[in-house]
Symmetry: D2
Subunit: 361 residues, 4 copies
């Protein structure tokens, strides 16, 4: 009941602190016979890692995944897949000044209140470094989704005050990856990069929004009344560090609309049942209906800024604090593979769950 | 792995269709020795039920809860609490015309695709009637929260285009309940009522937003890295019928902000560690920090409208469809106790989970 | 985490005390499209109920199951199946003398120590009456097993000192049910009945052994390394009231044997891989191998006897105690359908779990 | 729902094959602030490892545990504890002859039937090597039990036909560990050693029985009606490789007894409620009553013998097979720490679960 497992059938348990020996995890419930393309897994990890471009943190974490079990002669065996990513370039001494201070809007204070003891180095367990393990698990989930031709594609649609509002932008893996901020619209991408560089100079940070499309998801995924597909996607997004909001389909804008505007009429097109519009976002009653699933995820600015802030220390004294070390002014571009990974974990879990119960098929 | 249980320690399993014999549930993991005020539970149910005011559906569902086990001489015994709410006033024939039609933006189509068979009467399992069972479980959760002096208070902050923007409004159980739409701001409440009445005439529907405050939540609740408190709250809200979005703290607006604006400085005030601002919404790193927790939930308009719509039937033929029967143009006011119930279930579950692991206390 | 749910995919949650309003349960995860033969379910319940023969308790519990949800037009819908069995013939006053006494070898003392409060009437939650709900769930599981032609057949092989040692006895539903003690060997059956009648006169009780065969179980069921098929069967048996031991295959006798005696050689017989002997009991490495699964379950004597015993009361005073009311001198014959039900629940759960992961099939 | 996690609150997930890179696991739900004595953990591992005495396999597996997370400055932090044990001395070529053969009474055939693919080297996932990870988790569980002064002590009470029948034997850690076969009775121990040496010469194997006592377990552990303490202990034992039976308290012998013989009378002794006898084995109604808990576990002979056997290969052809390599004629002595570890995992899980629900304490 500690919260380090995710997924009920395709289940992922993670471990590891930012500056411990290693981070890693176990995937239990992966079907046997899946070919594991280790290069693909590593390439996904590389999309997340720091130091990948001039606007990210210069920490050169190597982030090399080592698989320890569950794969034999290149294929999954149905037994648990254990893996580790060793922590290198730790420079733990960078963090001695954090031992007794509660950084504003970080998890230092709450971890101390909850557990009484805390690995303060680099945020310990609360560090976003832990999300590297999710990207490994997510990459394996994506390999399974490929067999079903399901595609998960996330991209940055807002950084700070810069929104991508060009509706005709082509969203593709290529258009996303060609941008340093993973925004497929070239014009918006440039503005976003400029903003991030400006913030870096100022020692400040900013938030953003990641949008995500899921294509070719079959109808039937989702387990009402409590494990609705969109709710599991929402939870998956909300457990990404710095996320403050989730909406799917027409989202918050739905509140101001009328039913007559927002209902998605069904139609039969060449023998296939489709909807004319897709305000529902591909999910109705918690179950996918075969249309595109789409959602948005809001990220707050990184809490670490290079400005002096007021806070308290472990003894409860009011102190001034200024961060040191190496940090990103905006982590949203690096969160794109994490969003995709978490979505992929949910989809595989629900694919397997849906296979379970439909007695007739 | 079917999705009809919620909560890991304080666990609620629900059953029932809109027009079956009864709906009900089992609460497992309720501590022993809790005094159950049955009148309070019933009063919570009454806040959800149809027909409670002139702007809601005139169906007079009686919604009387009957406890079957787990309570002895007025107190919980630590054994599972089973309960039922009988379905009355069923008028199932009202629904014969729905047998083969897939209503737009309802779950008819997706249930048929998933399960192959479906109780079409009144939406069956996908009907919001099922949420009555959650209100029973939530009321018991609230009785536990009272022992900890934790209060969950939800209210309507938007209906259609009418937002409550008066920041000085007193949010209290009284100010909320005196309003037919459960909006504590008298001025906004009147506008909302007028809008709902207008929509009723037009046979249309609208969405809205429910805001929720949690007061006096102790620090330490939440189980990183996957069962973060806000993520479990988010999932709990997303599994309420018609919900399309969830945000906590500064939410989606955080995306456009800077770290220097949004960081919550800690301060020691009379020996208590507090934050100066509360953009975090009372949760940091997935763990409550002792400040107010607050979040917003977006509801889409009810899919049932009294207008002719295009759709398909079970045979895949394009047909016209117009709803019959009795429906609310806006269910958001009746969803207020459901929001509170789901939040209470999450809080009790996390209270118990947190008690578990803190070895030092 | 309270322990009132059983099974991971085909999941059963039970509620209810012996003298509350009703007992009942929810089956979640039952595939859709299963035809529910309500008469069959009731007939299974009747095999368990008291008063079914002259050697059982004369309490005339009616034990009528009422299904409340999850079944529509005679078939399961894939939604949770809720059901209740009302408690009648309660005569709670019979139990006033038990309010403050801890009966020897009953659960009165341990429930009080654990929960601090206890429904003392008829044993409350610890009463074997609760097993009626398992028989309902088990009967539905058996209906699913029938689709796979899997048969679960239990019988009494020992009562007190009388063992059934005739290896040529035909074990069939008919040979078992024709015996008042559910022992298929006519000769042993008569001796057992005589023993039970003698004990009834003496006001004493006795234990016994139930043997169980599972026929036509396909190879592949069981989830190593922790949810091995025999371990889940073992746990299922050990949670039947009064059970003290479980063994499968050659069981405890294996300890004294040599590998060269006990190994089951494989052979190819007409294209089918079988084993020459079956000391393994149909399960190897925790996974079924297609051979007959068989196991034995040991029951202690009923703790309720009509003799004066020494014990303590709630205040800790040493007191004398003599049971009143109506009790069976040997419940083992009535436990036969419970053994079958628990085995069926395990098998269906593992059938569904096994369907999940084998990617290639 | 794959079966590689054990425990609900103190949860252990294992991974690893006999000849993969490493075996290991994650403990999630360990309370914070526990001092981890790494030497103690290693000493427990050494009790299980091969090559520890002249009667065990000469494989010199090093079995060194490496902790990767969850421990900071010698104490647990409440975050998941990840660990690995690297596989050395693999000599995988020893196993090439096993690639296509189904060894009698091994799991080769069933793994192939279930998963379609199998790491054949040294038994892969079905190898008892995996139990080393359980001993690591169990050692940490024991460190928690020590805080509660609960002791788990297992010993060999039978090997082959040699039973330890001296009731006056002192059962202590010392008396057990001074024996090469972990039988505390010196006389029986010598006979057992002679038997094992004889079997080694003959190339045969034998089974045995391990008995286990749990001292100082407080009353209240166990979660009826499905997670009864003895049932979770029983399952824990049945998932140890080669186990065929489990009994607790008076066990199978209860079947032939009368209630008047077997009931445990309560008595108040100096203000403490005890039982005069303890046929119940310290558990009543599935909940510990404060008396000694004791149980027995039956092991079949190791399936690997140095004699020619008949079997089939993957193509279904009948073939002769003779094992090569290095094997123990009797693994029961090495299973003693595994029995203790599994029992400790169950006890800690139930300790934490029991802390949860008793509202009044």
């Amino acid at each position: 009941m500690a919260g380090n497992s995710f997924g009920k059938i395709f289940s992922f348990t993670s471990f590891g602190e930012s500056h411990g020996v290693a981070i890693g995890g176990i995937i239990d419930g992966c079907p046997s016979g899946i070919t594991i393309d280790a290069d693909y897994v590593q390439s996904e990890l590389n999309r997340r890692k720091p130091g990948q471009s001039e606007i990210t943190s210069p920490r050169s974490e190597d982030d090399t995944v080592e698989f320890l079990s569950g794969i034999f002669e290149g294929k999954t065996t149905g037994t648990p897949i254990g893996f580790i990513i060793k922590n290198k370039d730790q420079q733990s001494k960078d963090y001695d000044h954090l031992k007794n201070v509660y950084r504003p809007s970080h998890a230092d204070y709450t971890y101390d209140k909850k557990y009484g003891v805390r690995d303060h180095r680099g945020g310990g367990r609360s560090s976003a470094r832990e999300t590297a393990t999710r990207v490994v698990a997510g990459a394996i989930a994506k390999l399974i989704l490929k067999k079903y031709k399901i595609e998960v594609l996330a991209y940055v649609s807002q950084i700070g005050s810069v929104s991508m509002d060009n509706d005709s932008t082509v969203i593709s893996s290529e258009s996303v990856e060609q941008s340093m901020v993973r925004c497929p619209d070239v014009n918006s991408s440039e503005k976003m990069i400029a903003l991030v560089q400006q913030l870096k100079k100022e020692g400040d940070s900013t938030g953003g929004i990641i949008s995500c499309n899921i294509e070719n998801c079959p109808a039937g995924l989702g387990e009402p009344v409590f494990d609705k597909l969109h709710a599991d996607l929402g939870k998956a997004m909300l457990i990404i560090n710095a996320v403050k909001g989730f909406e799917f389909g027409h989202g918050f804008k739905s509140a101001a609309m009328r039913g007559s505007q927002l209902n998605d009429s069904f139609r039969n097109e060449d023998g296939k049942i489709l909807t004319k519009s897709n305000f529902s976002g591909g999910i109705q009653g918690g179950i996918s209906n075969g249309e595109r699933i789409y959602f948005k995820v809001a990220f707050k600015p990184v809490a670490t800024i290079m400005k002096q802030q007021q806070t308290v220390n472990k003894s409860g004294e009011n102190v001034d604090f200024k961060a040191e070390g190496r940090h990103d002014p905006c982590v949203v571009p690096r969160a794109v593979p994490i969003v995709e990974s978490m979505a992929a974990l949910v989809l595989v879990d629900h694919l397997l769950r849906n296979n379970l119960y439909n007695y007739n098929t």
